[in-house]
Subunit: 151 residues, 4 copies
């Protein structure tokens, strides 16, 4: 296990634990927290690709979520160990589409289709570089990119 | 202004403030927190209809979110005063569809189409009573229902 | 009721509701969330005094919490209506001491002694202006201060 | 690295990452989130000792935080890798005292003295078993305890 997860066959997988803070009084994980889990997955996917979001941000660039279509299939519980899968689908223009799943073992608990957009400091869409597009689409090819090639 | 908002022409409106806790280091509201704002809106919509979710829960019934299609249109900021609109669309079987919007003044910041399902203590779908369906669909007609008629 | 609460006899009081997001699977409010409630109280106390934290921040000044001694006395539950009391104690140098309480009716659920510090953009302590010290200590005297007198 | 951290010389250490969700618009970790990090540390400390909090809870027993004296020393930032240290101090009656620290490398960012209390299903204090007291105080001695010996 690594802190940031890893990419295998183009799928990033992050393992995480459900703590008190993630649950609500129904006994299950609070629905909005699956989006937090997915954001951890996306951040670590970018990290494993070699992209430094802190450096990006200091240069006035950031990924923002534009759309997220979420299916809440089964509840996760306190103490569960979950896997967040992040699967890049398409990257074009300023837009980056991906599919995410939260699993407990083989059991699918949550899925989302996510559209993220690269924006500049004023929130305007900013074209993804060919290197970034390539890195997202060919994550199986390996080879870490440096952040300066990605923006 | 009332703590639980109010229903006018079939639309529930709740006013809330953006605090430190709602923002992230990008300077904007963290994306998953719009779902929290919407859940506050839904809870208060049910409250204004006369539905006591604590009583429901102690009888083993609860609404859970099954699907949520979210559009993040413009960022909210610290100190903003926001309105959460909750608009019931359809209630049938165990399912309850609604549209939610988060606005800053007239400006639309976030929208979501939400499917909620009434479940029993074991998470099985549970049919909405005719009274509950009617209350949700005819919120303009007024007349508070007591919780015992709703489950 | 007002969105930002109000100051009476030197005590700021904010009314808020407990939602799903505030609870955990124990059925009670998650302990760290009392600190969120208190931060809402402090933000609205400053707001009612006439202090604009967004403007402060854009000028590189912010209040940060340095110390917080917290007593968790009784649990709050879903649907509870709570009052957050903020009582200024002492303001000197860069430091601002206050006492906060979270109540359900007359029942005390949580108390904290809080030390906040005014810092500049690099996190260095920054002396409170006499106007700000006076405003904090004489909140009963009324008379809103403009933000430019406070920094 | 293990998901639940490990105990060395009586100190439990958990490694975690700072994500978007943990920060606020000041650019730093939101103050209340250090309490979440500490709760993850305490949960995993109990887990490594062999204590199953889900099983405890289903038998009507739970640890609750009674007091927490918190010092916020330096800010953590997005992307930081942090260590949460949990150091048991004293366990007697229903009460369990511990010291927690959040570090970035060798740098101390946050410390807290925590009093937790074991309570039954009605929130009444419940005496810690000798086995649990011993386990907490002699964590270096090793030897996992089964949950049934601990309650």
């Amino acid at each position: 296990m690594t802190l940031s997860g890893s990419i295998t066959s183009g799928v990033h997988r992050l393992t995480l634990r459900v703590y008190y803070e993630d649950t609500d009084f129904s006994g299950n994980v609070y629905h909005a927290n699956y989006l937090k889990f997915c954001e951890r997955g996306r951040s670590d996917f970018l990290r494993v690709l070699g992209l430094d979001q802190t450096a990006m941000f200091s240069e006035g660039a950031a990924f923002v979520v534009r759309r997220m279509n979420c299916d809440f299939l089964k509840p996760a519980k306190f103490d569960d160990v979950l896997t967040v899968e992040t699967i890049p689908r398409e990257a074009a223009g300023a837009r980056f589409e991906l599919r995410q799943r939260v699993l407990r073992g083989e059991e699918e608990l949550f899925t989302a289709d996510v559209t993220a957009v690269l924006v500049d400091g004023r929130g305007k869409p900013k074209r993804l570089t060919p290197e970034l597009v390539k890195a997202m689409g060919t994550t199986t090819a390996g080879g870490q990119l440096t952040a300066d090639k990605l923006l």
